[in-house]
Symmetry: D2
Subunit: 467 residues, 4 copies
């Protein structure tokens, strides 16, 4: 069975001009023997997509590339979708200018965000400009590729996926994210460290996953019959004060994406279940008095605030690299990304079967969570099928925090769909990251942030007075 | 049908030595023609119960008393329960010393509470000492009066009622509270004022009630075919700044229980549904930055912080009055209390049928609320039956706040039942009233408050170090 | 409050040319002081509607008529609907020719039906031709009177109401039926008979109602504080063999609508809850071996098979009477019908509040019944609001039978909506009334019946071979 | 990871004196490299268990046996349970004398049963005598091995498993059955036959399973990316009339367990989903007019009625064989059974992970099925964990039939637990297999059957007159 191949796979890549995610996909596809076909690249920046077409097609000529794919930039979304078996969505909603406002403007009011793309004031405003894009994408999928499987990587993940299903309820979409994998890797390292076992892979760490994207939790974990929760308690006790940095000591100080897992450890001490996302994401879901009160406190918790300026500069470097790659001045490096997109595609084609965590509407996999809200749990992915497993329910205090964010997201969705400033403010005021400011201060911040993103709020009455 | 009478009703009154509630019941019963029987008074202070026996039995000799009841103080809970058709519970858990700590100790940390008996740090600690008492009461009811109907007036209402059902799931218990009536009265006054109609009674104000006790909401209201929500919007707009005080201007400044309804009006402006409890209660369910940030802000919102010292002095006055009443030095005044207890008893006996708001376990009356949690909605009360009506669901942002408190209460229940300090702290840290303090400060406050109530925490390991 | 009046009520009557129901409404409206307005009569037979216009308008001149209404026949459905506050639907789907086939054709196969309009082969075929009509009506209501309240009297009640909600989910529709009232009357007579109380009215009999239309059950019943279930057991024991006929002994033999309640009594003996519909209806929900095996068995159970020929002749009599009434040759007799339609209208206008049984989608009022299926339980009807009460769950064996019919109805709905003969046959084969015949015999009967109703099955491929 | 071993596994085998199942387990364990340990055999016939101890321990000396296990017969249930990691239950409730009555007595009334151990009159009576045994077993497990995993093979599967959970809700029990495997094998053969592919194994046939034991259905099936439902339609069309017998033509006439799959094919034609159990079982869930009307019809459908006399004689042969095995006169043959018990044990130990169909309480895996009822769906079995996948919902007509049996089983459970003859009769009358007889005939049959099993109905008032 493993030798079976499928050779006419057609993938539509929305955001196909991206550097990071698109190159990663090219790399993973290049190493894959069982499938081949065509990738249509669509991007609002056609030139960027075209550059990726050039880069991608060069791969076919390389002898070390086993997976042969044709890349084609297209000018219209429908051209990408027509005939697609799979649709990948990985876009940046707005520009880094808007993101700058999302992330840094709240600092004026004492609100710090380590990422600013999921929850908190930044996540909310980003969602307001992203949801209309996803509504449009869903409408196009319904029209041009209703039977395709859709894989979303865009943040805010839960709301993007929610918008897809809300617009086209029969869509077959899943949201994929690697944050849980990171926690599995941490657990694998822990097993190596505390049990003296070598080469434990993250796939060998069995976990029960439940929660929402970037605020996902693990309440059962094992490694070949060994219960990892008691071990994790030991691990946390050992590294609680110093943090755990593995071989990369001090890394968290220099790398905007690294941490010493102290937030994760603290959450475990308090709630007895394992938070399964990076510390930068986790911290944003809690009241700001916990981990994000001010930059000093962030430093004590040993994680970092990611400045948007860094993203801007990084983007510049990637653009230059893209130019070099397309001109043949630099060789494209083929490395496994660690993402599961290609494995999921193979599973949906029936070439394998896998169990992994995905973001899809709740149809019962999480108990006492409203139906239709997007949750992240394990699912069995197999031929044309994604079936969630019943993940159960987290302890009441953790479940409560998840539910809070789910309802806030529901309010944000409604605000975005109805372009209603009052409803958007209701959600804004209820985000735990702003809960130590007064409603009046928060309303002021909201107005300011909204006006910075107004180019993406078509149809909104942005000057409406609300309270 | 209205002429029917029942003459052998037996009521067990737990907390029967109380001045306020017990005298109120005596008064209501004295005016009631259709039922008569016996009230057994049980109190941990037997003497107080005995004094009420004397006071109650004096009423039988008065010619203006149509409802004839025999009162009897008993020394044991089981003596009160045996043979009872109805059980009324109205107790003070602990003394005013504990309540002083509940309410005022948090002020040291900048946390102000207007009542301190329902939610917030005070409500939580009070619940920890109350739940064991209700577990014991439920066990006794199961043993001695399993078929009786139980009416609870004690706060924290939701958790007291939850503890009863948790302990004895087949119990027939309802929690009764007059806060919604107050809002109906406000709406009646509004109709009089804005429509020029005279003598509108609160019973004529039709409402759909949903939420939890003291954080109850109305999403439909009408008066003989007139939709009251648009009218309320007008009303709020008119009185938002000044507040509405009816005939009692300035009252809120002198009376610890009064308010100018400004919190209620603000909640309506923000959420478009009517908050249906007193402002002092409502404010405590919101983050403290909203209405309770400091005494000055409370004053601006025109409600009051009720000092426990006032309760202590008031109690003294009542004790003296009780003495005079029992000695015949003062005449017992018979007035309708406005409470519905007696009407509910009559309904359960089949003498009438009524629709009113009650606190009972959710069996579906509130959508997307966990089953078994105690909610407050309308119900039809008739012969041996309390059937909730399907109340629907509040707008997402309001629903979210209710759900948060429901899960926090669930955590508190679990802490109280398992005597687990860690779980109690989990709940404490998540109360919105403390959300602008850091977890470390809150943990310190928690320790201090817990030690002040330790006399009522039998079996707890109160010195356990938790984080 | 009771003196309030509403004088501009507008009612659309679909099926307004009917004799029975339309005249009943005229009669009830004529006696009603608090409301007045206009009734627009729409009927596919315009002349019949016009005749009723004449009859109705004559009433206004009579001095004994306190409720003044203007009647107007209209030629188009939209003309009736525009401006309507209330829509009443009471139509005959197809003619008596189709009904003849529904009811009597199965007799060839040994299948007897006492009514043939709800379940069984007759009810199914009737539903297939009725559902498209209700889809059309719902579409018109959505377009022309989306805010109106809709009261349906047409059978099959559950499927008609289901079709309305399926087509226009925001419709405010209720299905009303008097069968439960009949059982309340029986209980009232029982109280008079066994307790020696005089003049017990059906409204004084408190009941908890649950089930589906014509297969409704009562699991709690009381009369001013007296539990009626033990009394009913006594009553059944006394009259099980002879049946109970009240003052109308032998009536069931001569009147196609009467019975001696023996089916009802037998169901109580077997299931311990009270079946609350006429025996003719109840019998049709059970396997035919129970009560409808053959005419002899029907006679033993002392109820009757209603021949369609009787309906045809009765219709003739009514048509003649209608002619005389419209010509003034006969005086219109004003009598209360016992139907609650007018009271419901008054309640929805806010002039009163009532609790009664209605047919509406399940939103939780019946536990473990699929959401959206139409169930019959008590509801509170008040200003612009119908709120079901939580009715609980029947004993498993009765619940099972209800669920069976609910799923069969769901299958019938799907067959009618998709015009799918295979699905229709799936439902047909599963009706308990045909369960003692083989699938092959039943399929033959189905084909024959379907062809008799083909004039009303537009768009069906009626000659498709199915198995 | 696959090389890991666990060497101290302890299994309690209830029914450990059996020939079929116990020998099968010995055989599977003997071939298994990764686990070893001890099996304690408990049986009400100690001698039979002891004989199996002897047979089992002989295996250890054989060079072809890689899995080393010690067998020990014990005299008390608690001795078997203490220390057990796994409990296997495979018992015969009552003797073949009772089973004879279960299966053949109804024939007098024209009711034929092909197996008589799951549903129908035989299944019901068998359940009445089995449930008390499982209550007792569950109580012992709660007391002596509360953390163990319990694997049940006994019929009626659903009710046995239900009784375990009802008695000890925290039990970790699963019901295992090979009937679905049989259908997977049929699909594998179909793929070989129609696609010309060789050696397709049943494990390669991906299926979504849902339903209840022996009335399980498949609504999605694939083989390496090929959708098998259209193929099955083709298959059914080809073999509908003749049946499909593979290489074993005529087998169904001589083998009481074989069939030509015609029932399965007919159910597919009628309902468009694949029935996934043997025809003998499937037929019993339908009204008897479908497949079991009389022996002639059974023959036409090409399956068989299994006479209990055959079982009796077969048992005799096995007893003799057991004697020979224990005496070393015959060599124990080691062959894979095709059962998954051992693989499940390995998975629960963390040595592998598998997805397979199991019978466990519904916690949401089947939509619109009452919680707690036992359903059969796929689950992920891994270290100390069985998590069902969300299996969705079958088409309404099939769902309806499943629900009917679920409620009937619930009624049977209640009858068995309360020893209530009236409730047992309620369930009996509602079984579809008896629906073409009158309630009176069925009641008579019920009485007769009940009296034949009275030795196992301790505490019942078997002579109570019921109707």
């Amino acid at each position: 069975m493993s030798q079976k191949t499928v050779n006419d796979v057609q993938i539509a890549y929305i955001g196909g001009g991206s550097q990071g995610w698109a190159w990663g996909l090219m790399s993973d596809l290049a190493m894959e023997k069982q499938i081949s076909g065509k990738v249509k690249l669509y991007d609002i920046h056609y030139d960027a997509a075209y550059q990726n077409e050039v880069i991608g097609n060069q791969l076919n000529e390389r002898s070390d590339v086993v997976g042969k794919w044709r890349y084609e930039a297209v000018r219209k979304l429908e051209d990408a979708l027509e005939g697609a078996n799979f649709v990948i969505i990985s876009i940046l909603p707005g520009t880094f200018e808007e993101m700058k406002s999302d992330v840094h403007l709240p600092e004026k009011y004492g609100i710090y965000q380590s990422v600013g793309d999921t929850v908190g004031p930044g996540g909310l405003i980003r969602a307001l400009r992203t949801i209309p894009l996803f509504v449009k994408i869903a409408e196009h999928i319904q029209k041009y590729a209703p039977k395709s499987w859709v894989i979303n990587y865009t943040n805010p993940m839960s709301l993007c996926t929610r918008a897809l299903y809300h617009t086209f309820p029969e869509i077959k979409a899943i949201g994929c994210c690697h944050e849980v994998f990171g926690t599995q890797k941490l657990l694998a390292q822990m097993v190596e460290l505390l049990c003296g076992i070598e080469k434990v892979s993250r796939e060998e760490i069995e976990v029960n996953v439940l929660g929402i994207n970037h605020f996902t939790w693990i309440d059962q974990a094992s490694y070949t019959g060994k219960d990892l929760l008691p071990l994790y308690r030991e691990f946390v006790d050992k590294y609680y004060e110093t943090g755990y940095e593995g071989s990369e000591e001090g890394h968290w100080m220099n790398n905007h994406f690294a941490s010493a897992e102290r937030v994760k450890f603290d959450l475990f001490k308090r709630f007895k279940v394992i938070a399964a996302a990076g510390d930068r994401h986790l911290a944003e879901f809690m009241p700001n008095t916990w981990y994000l009160e001010n930059p000093q406190k962030v430093k004590e918790w040993k994680f970092g605030l990611t400045p948007v300026q860094w993203r801007i500069e990084n983007k510049k470097r990637l653009v230059e690299k893209g130019y070099r790659l397309s001109k043949g001045e630099e060789s494209f490096q083929i490395d496994p990304t660690g993402e599961e997109g290609v494995e999921i595609i193979k599973s949906l084609l029936g070439l394998r079967k896998m169990i992994s965590n995905v973001n899809i509407p709740n149809t019962g996999q999480m108990k006492d969570v409203p139906l239709d809200s997007i949750v992240e749990t394990n699912a069995i992915v197999s031929y044309n099928s994604v079936r969630p497993v019943l993940a159960g329910k987290l302890p009441a205090p953790v479940h409560k925090m998840i539910i809070e964010h789910i309802y806030n997201q529901e309010t944000i969705l409604q605000a975005a769909l109805t372009k209603d400033k009052e409803i958007a403010l209701q959600a804004f005021l209820q985000d735990p990251l702003v809960s130590s400011n007064s409603p009046e201060q928060n309303a002021e911040l909201f107005e300011e942030m909204l006006s910075h993103t107004k180019n993406y709020l078509e149809g909104w009455n942005i000057h409406q007075k609300v309270n």
